[in-house]
Symmetry: D2
Subunit: 122 residues, 4 copies
């Protein structure tokens, strides 16, 4: 039922597709180029946090929060576009990945343990 025509992610996919088609930019959207662009946008998001001491929301002012919000939108736009090109159903992909994560990080073994969390992240 996910990615039904009226789901959030399907609507965003359509929105981005229209934007790209109007500009004839599909020719630039190889999966590799989109993966580059996604990485670049993720770094632009990170840039807003890089010098914060604690990295909490209170350390961002209201203006910064608007910019952060826009960078997050850019990340999602490129992710949705890449999913469109690779015919990946993002909702199903997360569900599938979370099953693997549950096996990899059993709650009773890793609960509240930063050290274990690190090691498991390897």
């Amino acid at each position: 039922m996910t990615n039904a025509a009226d789901s959030d992610l399907a609507r965003l996919r359509a929105l981005v597709r229209t934007f790209v088609d109007e500009r004839d930019w599909d020719q630039f959207h190889t999966p590799k180029n989109l993966a580059c662009a996604l990485s670049v946008e993720a770094a632009e998001l990170l840039e807003h946090f890089q010098w914060l001491q604690h990295g909490r929301i209170e350390e961002l002012g209201a203006d910064k929060l608007v910019q952060v919000r826009h960078e997050m939108a850019d990340v999602l736009v490129y992710l949705v576009r890449l999913a469109d090109k690779l015919e990946v159903d993002l909702f199903a992909a997360v569900q599938e990945k979370m099953v693997l994560n549950r096996e990899k990080y059993p709650a009773e073994q890793v609960r509240g343990d930063a050290r274990k969390y690190h090691e498991y992240k390897k």
Copy 2:
């Protein structure tokens, strides 16, 4: 209506929230740490494309495509989690950003023009 309890993105947010709470990992999830993790996952996705000559889907085998799909899921998980912590409605954020993008890149000016596309990206 977006992020209604039954929307895709709201369901993913709930899925991730449960996973994190079961592990008592919320304590590690400052916005800064999540922005780092998002950037790291975006780079892991890019890694699969870095040496491809054209960067097209045919150059990835079926195995690689499964891995790519999982990296895309990881990116979305951290993005959804960050949105949860910053109280950002991702669907609305993309709609808002796309309005700005339409002003910044008027279709008639940038159509099919890679050079202009570059310059505009600045």
Copy 3:
């Protein structure tokens, strides 16, 4: 005198060039691919820090520090390689950039001021 045949950076350039030539990997080393690889290695470095509370050296164990050291080496290898392909003298480039940075961030205006530091980073 910089990048004289016996400078550090020139010696690293030669070391990497030999390694690549022995493997006939130059064909994969377009500037774009090297820029991708550099970004991927920088993220692998960041991964070791992403969940640390303060991000200080004491929070990394000795084992992690060895891995961090190796990721830093990978970053430098790709940077030196990219400089080789683009005929950039890295030493001169830093000297040149630091002159610009001194103009952009006058010491008396930005001293010890995190907020200004953020704004200036824009």
Copy 4:
């Protein structure tokens, strides 16, 4: 003899150290923050290449090449600074890593083989 006071990398370390001390910015330079900044700069470098079809030097104009050169300088500045804070000798680290790389990618096995190169990169 590497990182002798007059080596390239030692001179860059001193240059950056002076710049930071004049601005009292050492307080912001935790290893984690520097690793974030390095990743952000690597992405700014990548941004110049993201939409290029082949990713070759000819596709960058002269102006872009100057910008690329400055982004490369930024990457090196943060890498040298991180090495300073973690007391890593970058020259020795690359030498050490290249020994490991020679074991991991024996020339006779991986020569000119993109597919193997990918797999080995895993």
